[in-house]
Symmetry: C2
Subunit: 300 residues, 2 copies
């Protein structure tokens, strides 16, 4: 199965961002991709550099304009599209939500970001309610989305630092892990620190592939976005790109550069997960009798 990941630079022009994303999706589909993933919050600038109530105007419902547009495109191209948007669930209740559109344009499912960051320049806790732990239909927040391109373990950005999230998706049968992302550097950090952060980010996600024997797709934003005048203490963010696709041993199948827009394309052989898990059978030996304390905040 051929998959694609789109790494994009955004501006304040919502329509232009979306139309450029859609042009890239077309290009990926022309290249044979059956599954195309966009980066986190791909319709706008990364607006969490400041806490501003006016920003909630950017939020939209599901279904809404972004799912309508991506659904129509998925239908036209006969591919599965993974998008990410600022969801208005109710008045005063918003989420950072990834959406999956099926080949026929219908909504295959959504995933509401479970782990919400908050640090200088990334004030997400102001905007996003964390995804529900469980839903009324008994689904867990960490439930893969069934599609014609496989069972997608869709997670978002800050989730990528949590091995628990990746594992729960794998235990529920996810065949791929997908991370729409918006992460970058504070330009006041020195080069060594920036390199450590980037390496850590790549390493922890490749490790999810390794620990679970599944491919991982990561779409990150690129380019510099200055801090809005309303910001507290962010100097802007240099998004670090480096989107990648890796196989079930964490091996790179495609890897984007830091700057510049890219369409990454790779062929995923699902048989490799079967083969890798037979000879590296981590799921066989999990000590579930001894993992109870993982649900504690701290073991003190």
């Amino acid at each position: 199965m051929r998959v694609a990941v789109i790494q994009q630079h955004n501006s304040a022009d919502l329509d232009d961002n979306l139309s450029r994303s859609m042009a890239k999706i077309r290009e990926a589909a022309t290249g044979g991709a059956e599954l195309v993933m966009l980066q986190e919050l791909h319709r706008s600038l990364y607006f969490c550099q400041t806490e501003d109530t006016d920003v909630f105007d950017l939020a939209e419902t599901i279904p809404g304009p972004t799912t309508d547009a991506l659904g129509a495109l998925a239908d036209e191209l006969n591919i599965v599209i993974v998008g990410s948007l600022f969801e208005k669930r109710a008045t005063g209740l918003y989420h950072n939500t990834a959406v999956v559109l099926e080949r026929d344009g219908t909504l295959a499912g959504i995933y509401r970001k479970m782990h919400i960051p908050d640090d200088p320049g990334f004030y997400e806790k102001f905007y996003f309610t964390p995804g529900d732990a469980t839903f009324n239909d008994q689904r867990s927040g960490f439930t893969p989305i069934n599609t014609s391109a496989g069972k997608l373990g869709l997670l978002v950005c800050w989730d990528q630092w949590y091995p628990e999230a990746a594992r729960l998706m794998a235990l529920a049968g996810a065949e791929l892990l997908l991370y729409p992302t918006a992460i970058g550097w504070d330009r006041s950090d020195d080069n060594d620190e920036q390199q450590r952060q980037l390496d850590a980010w790549i390493t922890v996600q490749r490790a999810h592939a390794v620990a679970n024997g599944v491919p991982v797709l990561v779409a990150n934003r690129t380019g510099f976005e200055p801090a809005p005048h309303t910001t507290r203490d962010s100097d802007g963010i240099q998004f670090w790109g480096n989107s990648f696709i890796c196989g079930p041993q964490g091996e790179y199948l495609a890897h984007a550069g830091q700057d510049g827009e890219e369409i990454l394309i790779a062929d995923i052989d699902k048989r490799r997960s079967e083969d890798v898990r037979r000879i590296w059978p981590y799921l066989r030996d999990r000590r579930i009798d001894a993992y109870g304390d993982l649900t504690k905040r701290y073991r003190d």
Copy 2:
């Protein structure tokens, strides 16, 4: 705090292996190391290439000859030593056990390997009972060991593939994660596969540092050990070395080569874990309300 990791080639001569280990510990201590870790089962060949009841003769009690020897050396050098041995707990009850000797020669604690592998050439399930999930004193199997060199999150080899184990140690206050290891290649695998396996092994352990904001020490064996004549289907193991020490962002502090014995020395700055965890506060945002299924074998 200066720490050291010893990467060694072993032979069938138990006394020679241990005396060479001890010489290297002396050398590390002379270089200023306050904490020195040996590789997994450092007193013998990696005997799990075959299933042979005579091999149980290699097992020893705790305390026993290895803890006596390492304890005396720890006392003499005034350092903390982490060793690894084949433990006879009772007749017919054996473990793969890491031991920690304090600066005064006393036994600071033990850790019995929780996840036991079994694949061609690594028939560990024949020899080792998995460590207890909980003990009569209410300790969990994943409990760090308090020492004068810090709280040691000691795990062994196959444990290194399990993010759950690293997390449980970190949640219990481990300041370092330590992995005595014996892992290598089946020489019948091609070079690409061998490289993927090595990269996966490095990646997953560096990721434990990242996800938990703690340094990681890994001691692996080096050299080729042929399969015993009693083996089923192993062609021998080419142990891949590559012992390493990394900081709390997964950054290398020291990294050994594939072949040859080495003493890795690095300075660990515990303040860096404090700093890293302040700005990358993963522990703050864990979704413990949604992690319950981690204690399931599979979510089906």
